[in-house]
C-alpha cells in the first residue's frame, strides 16, 4: 500500500525534493519563459517586451509559414506511413520467430537506434550524394551496358547522368524513414506479441488466407499498438531538425528549421517561441488522439 506523505514527511521531502526542484527550475521555467516570449515583441536587439500580443501566432498563419507547417505534417505523415508498411512485416516476423532468433532480430532492429543520429545521417549522405555509392554503382552499370551496346554497334549511350538523390524532399523522407523505423517496429512488436495466436490459427484453419487474416484479424486486434507506433514515429519525425537540415534542399525546410532560424540567425525570439509552442500543441494533439483511440477500443471489451 502506498504511504501517505504526512506519515514520513522527512523521507518524502528528501525523495521528491531533488527531482521536483530540477524539473521546475531546469524544465518548467525555461519552457514557461519561451511560452511568455511567444506573447512578446522585439524591442531593440536583446530586449523583449511582454505585451500580451497574439501577433506572433497570427504571423504563423501567413501562407509562407502555413505552407511549411502543412509540408512538415505531410513529410512526417508520409514517413510514418512508409515506416508502418515496412515495419509491420518485420514486427510480424519477429513475433513468431523462435526465441533465439527473436532476441537477435530485436537487437538488430535496435542497434542502429542506439547509434549516433549524426553518424547515421552522415552515412546516408555518403550513400546518396552525386559521387555517392548509389551513383557510383549506377555509373559502373551504365558504362558496362554502354560497352556492350558499343560492341553490338548500336551507337553510343552518351555520358552517365548522376541521379540527384541528395538535397531534396526524397532524401528527407528517406532519411526520416531510416532513422525512425525502429520507433515503429518496437511498439508493433510488443502489440503483436500479446495477441492471442489461437485467433489467427482459427482464421487460417477456417480457410482465410494469410493476407485476409492479417487485414481482418491481426490488424484490428493490434490497432492500439499500431496507433502508439504511429504516434511514437510521427512526433519525432514532425519535430526533426537534423535530417531536413543536412539531407534537404532549400525547399525542404521543416518547422524545426524555421524555429532554429528565428533563434539563431533572424534573432526574432518571440516569433520563434510562438512557432515552438505551436509545434508543442501539435504534439499534444497527436498524443491526445492516440489516448482517445486506445480508450475507445478498451471500453467495449
Amino acid at each position: 500500500m502506498e504511504q501517505h506523505w504526512k506519515s514520513a514527511k522527512g523521507l518524502f521531502g528528501a525523495v521528491l525534493g531533488p527531482p521536483l526542484f530540477w524539473l521546475v527550475l531546469f524544465f518548467m521555467i525555461p519552457m514557461g519563459i519561451v511560452w511568455l516570449y511567444s506573447f512578446g515583441e522585439n524591442r531593440g536587439l536583446t530586449d523583449i517586451a511582454l505585451t500580451g500580443t497574439f501577433s506572433n501566432y497570427l504571423r504563423a498563419l501567413d501562407p509562407l509559414y502555413l505552407k511549411i507547417f502543412v509540408k512538415s505534417v505531410g513529410i512526417a505523415g508520409l514517413t510514418t506511413l512508409i515506416c508502418l508498411v515496412i515495419g509491420f512485416p518485420v514486427a510480424l516476423a519477429i513475433t513468431f520467430a523462435p526465441p533465439k532468433a527473436k532476441t537477435w532480430l530485436l537487437l538488430a532492429v535496435m542497434l542502429p537506434f542506439w547509434t549516433n543520429l549524426l553518424i547515421r545521417t552522415y552515412a546516408l549522405i555518403a550513400v546518396l550524394r552525386t559521387e555517392g555509392y548509389v551513383n557510383q554503382s549506377l555509373e559502373w552499370l551504365w558504362n558496362g551496358f554502354g560497352a556492350v551496346v558499343g560492341v553490338l554497334g548500336l551507337g553510343a549511350l552518351g555520358p552517365f547522368q548522376p541521379l540527384e538523390l541528395l538535397h531534396n524532399n526524397f532524401a528527407v523522407v528517406l532519411g526520416l524513414v531510416y532513422v525512425h523505423l525502429p520507433f515503429m517496429v518496437l511498439p508493433l512488436y510488443s502489440a503483436l506479441d500479446r495477441l492471442d495466436t489461437s485467433l489467427i490459427e482459427a482464421s487460417l484453419d477456417l480457410g482465410a488466407g494469410h493476407l485476409r487474416t492479417l487485414l481482418t484479424i491481426v490488424a484490428p486486434l493490434a490497432l492500439p499498438g499500431i496507433a502508439s507506433g504511429v504516434v511514437i514515429t510521427f512526433i519525432p519525425a514532425l519535430g526533426s531538425y537534423l535530417t531536413p537540415d543536412l539531407l534537404g534542399g532549400p525547399d525542404s525546410q521543416m518547422i524545426a528549421n524555421i524555429i532554429e532560424r528565428q533563434f539563431k540567425r533572424a534573432n526574432d525570439w518571440p516569433f520563434g517561441a510562438a512557432l515552438s509552442f505551436l509545434l508543442m500543441y501539435m504534439t499534444f494533439i497527436a498524443i491526445a488522439l492516440q489516448a482517445m483511440l486506445s480508450r475507445r477500443r478498451r471500453e467495449p471489451a
Binding site: E2, Q3, W5, A8, L11, F12, V15, L16, P18, P19, W22, F26, F27, P30, M31, I33, V34, Y37, V90, A93, T95, F96, A97, P98, A101, L111, P112, W114, T115, N116, L118, Y122, A123, A126, V127, E131, Q136, Y178, L181, T197, I200, E201, L204, I235, P236, G239, Y241, L242, L246, I255, A256, I259, E260, F263, W269, F277, L279, M280, T283, I287
Partner: protein, 290 residues
C-alpha cells in the same frame, strides 16, 4: 533431421517472402553504416573507389586535437549527466511508487513532458534560459564550462530513468519492506539493503539509456554549447557541413564500435541471471512459500 518439415502456419520467419523482406530491411538499415566503416580504411581522399587498406585516417582523426577534445567533452558530459540522471530518476520513481500526495498526477504528467516534447522546443528553451536567467560564466576551467550542457542533458534524461525504474518497482513485494522494518531495520537500511537491490537492474538499464541519450544528442547541445564547449556530434556536424571526408568516417567508426561494445556490456550485465537474480532472487523467494 535431414529435411526440415514445411513451415507451420505461423512460422512467418521461414517463408521466403518475409525472409526477402527482412533481408531488404536489413540491407537498408545496415548497408550505409557498413559502407561508412569499410571506407574509413580506404586509401583515397575521394573516398569512393577502393584504393587499398590504410589506417592513416584513424591516425589523422586521433591527431586532430579539436576532434579528440570534442570526444572527451561528449564522454564527460554523458558520464556526469548519467550519474545525476540516475539519482534524480530513481528518487522521482521512489516518490511516485512509495507515496500518496496531493498533486501526484500533476508531477507524474510533468515528468512525462521532457520525454514527449520535441527536441527543438527543449533546445530553444535551454538557449533562452541560459541567455536570460542563468548565464553560464564564460571561460571556466574544464569540466565546469560544460555545466550548461550537462544541466540540459539531465533535464531530458532523468525522466527516462524514472520511467524505467518505476516499471521495475511495480514488481516489488512491499511486504519485504515491512518485514525489514519489523525486524528493526532503519528507513535508510531498508532502502539500501532491500529496495536498492531490487532496483539495481533498472538502474543499469536506465543508466545505459541516459548515457546513450546524452552521447547521441545533437539538437539540444547545439543550442546550449558555446565556441569552447564543442561535443562530438556538434563537431561532426560542422565537419559534415563542409565536406565528406574519410576522417569523419574514421571518427564515426570509433563511436559505432564504442556503441556496440557498450550495448554488449549492458546486455551481458542485464541478461546474466547471476548478476540480476543473485541479489534479489533470495528476497523474492519467500513469496512462493505458503
Amino acid at each position: 533431421m535431414a529435411k526440415r518439415p514445411a513451415p507451420g502456419p505461423l512460422e512467418y520467419l521461414r517463408r521466403w517472402p518475409l525472409q526477402l523482406w527482412l533481408a531488404g530491411v536489413g540491407i537498408f538499415l545496415y548497408a550505409p553504416l557498413i559502407a561508412l566503416m569499410v571506407f574509413s580504411f580506404n586509401d583515397s581522399r575521394r573516398n569512393i573507389v577502393w584504393q587499398g587498406f590504410t589506417l592513416k585516417y584513424y591516425e589523422k582523426a586521433l591527431n586532430n586535437a579539436s576532434l579528440i577534445e570534442a570526444f572527451v567533452n561528449s564522454l564527460t558530459i554523458a558520464a556526469v549527466s548519467t550519474f545525476l540522471s540516475l539519482i534524480l530518476g530513481a528518487l522521482a520513481a521512489l516518490a511516485l511508487w512509495r507515496f500518496r500526495f496531493p498533486g501526484k498526477a500533476g508531477f507524474d504528467g510533468a515528468l512525462a513532458l521532457p520525454i514527449v516534447a520535441p527536441e527543438i522546443c527543449l533546445g530553444v528553451a535551454m538557449l533562452v534560459f541560459f541567455a536570460k536567467v542563468l548565464p553560464w560564466p564564460q571561460g571556466l576551467p574544464w569540466p565546469f564550462n560544460l555545466g550548461a550542457i550537462i544541466i540540459a542533458h539531465v533535464s531530458f534524461s532523468f525522466p527516462f530513468v524514472a520511467v524505467v525504474v518505476r516499471a521495475r518497482m511495480a514488481s516489488f513485494n512491499r511486504e519485504l519492506e515491512e518485514a525489514a522494518r519489523d525486524l528493526g531495520a532503519s528507513e535508510w537500511r531498508t532502502l539500501k539493503d532491500v529496495i536498492l537491490p531490487h532496483m539495481a537492474p533498472s538502474l543499469v538499464a536506465g543508466g545505459f539509456l541516459a548515457f546513450t541519450l546524452s552521447l547521441d544528442d545533437f539538437v539540444i547541445t547545439f543550442f546550449t554549447s558555446g565556441p569552447d564547449t564543442v561535443t562530438f556530434p556538434v563537431k561532426v556536424y560542422s565537419m559534415v557541413r563542409f565536406s565528406v571526408t574519410p576522417e569523419v568516417n574514421a571518427a564515426s567508426t570509433i563511436l559505432i564500435v564504442l556503441t556496440v561494445v557498450l550495448t554488449a556490456i549492458a546486455l551481458k550485465v542485464q541478461g546474466d541471471p547471476a548478476s540480476t537474480a543473485g541479489g534479489h532472487a533470495a528476497l523474492d523467494r519467500p513469496k512462493d512459500r505458503p
